[in-house]
Subunit: 190 residues, 2 copies
Amino acid sequence: MPRISATKQAILAAALELGALHGISGTTMEEVAERAGVAKGSVYYNFASKDKLFEELLTAGVSSLSATLRTAREQASGFGAIEAMVMQMLTLIAENRALAKLMAAEIFRTDRVWQHTVSGLRREGVSEIGTALAPLVPAETPEATRLLMAGGIFGATLMGGLEWLLFTPETPVEDVAAAILFTYSGRLAQ
Amino acid sequence: MPRISATKQAILAAALELGALHGISGTTMEEVAERAGVAKGSVYYNFASKDKLFEELLTAGVSSLSATLRTAREQASGFGAIEAMVMQMLTLIAENRALAKLMAAEIFRTDRVWQHTVSGLRREGVSEIGTALAPLVPAETPEATRLLMAGGIFGATLMGGLEWLLFTPETPVEDVAAAILFTYSGRLAQ
DNA sequence: GTCTATAAGGTGATAGAC
DNA sequence: GTCTATCACCTTATAGAC
């Protein structure tokens, strides 16, 4: 017995697809209703407001990313943890392409009601990577510096992942991960 | 004698600040006019439409980034070119914080009239970095792989730069560049 | 639970006086 | 060149029938 009705699920799916396409501000509740195959009144029966609707979508995405990164980190050690996190994050992006686009567009917004939610995405993602970096950087490295590095790895994976899906989607995920990880091998700086 | 009137400049400045704060869709022409200290009619006298207004803003930003990266690349060689590009891109982001936020939010949009403009930002940025990478990667590396790496470096710098400005703006730009570049030293993977 | 109809307010854009 | 006034439309949200 699903605790989420078919209608609610259809609305969420419609909102996700449209939001990825036109952004959240660019998506209207009318369009969402039409795409979900229900009337606008039904959308408002299931979600109190447009903000609540998208917040639910984003919250689910944040949880999903956090859990994925944490699991990847715990299943490997040393630099292997970074490798696993990059790989798993790329897989997640590929599986939830629309959600990834939606979140990428919102990630630096500071004026939304769900700001806390999306900000949590970056913070949790970056801090998971930061934790994995701790044993890999010199002992005297300040935490802020480590978080900047983590932000860089997070950003590289996100940008690389979206570029991959937009321009060369036929490339296997392993190759994309390998390309990003190659930059950390030290062979560029030789 | 400026070829751009004071009014036009005030409107562009207002649109930039508001756009960085609320996004482009979230910014109204009424607000832009108010902040610029002119009437809405004057905004429309200077810009044919809201789209044209923001397109002008974004176009200027793209040119600026492209020029900066090209200059940085040409003034150094080998890995030094990557170092210079990261450093100059961070400097540019710091100097044009609002523009950087505006562009970051639009960079993966595919449905806007200025899509071509913003898409050009990423493409030109990534391809400049890709050019600098050519002598640094194994000879048999496909171009697509090299561009994925370049996208990663671009994404790392953008994300690192925005995190820097949002959370630890007192950190000197050199330290931020050093943190990002450290990840390419190979010392993480040892 | 889902629908239709409508309210209430905002938005991009234009006309025409000055 | 800049202003005020206004249009036509769109958007979120709600009321009430079924």
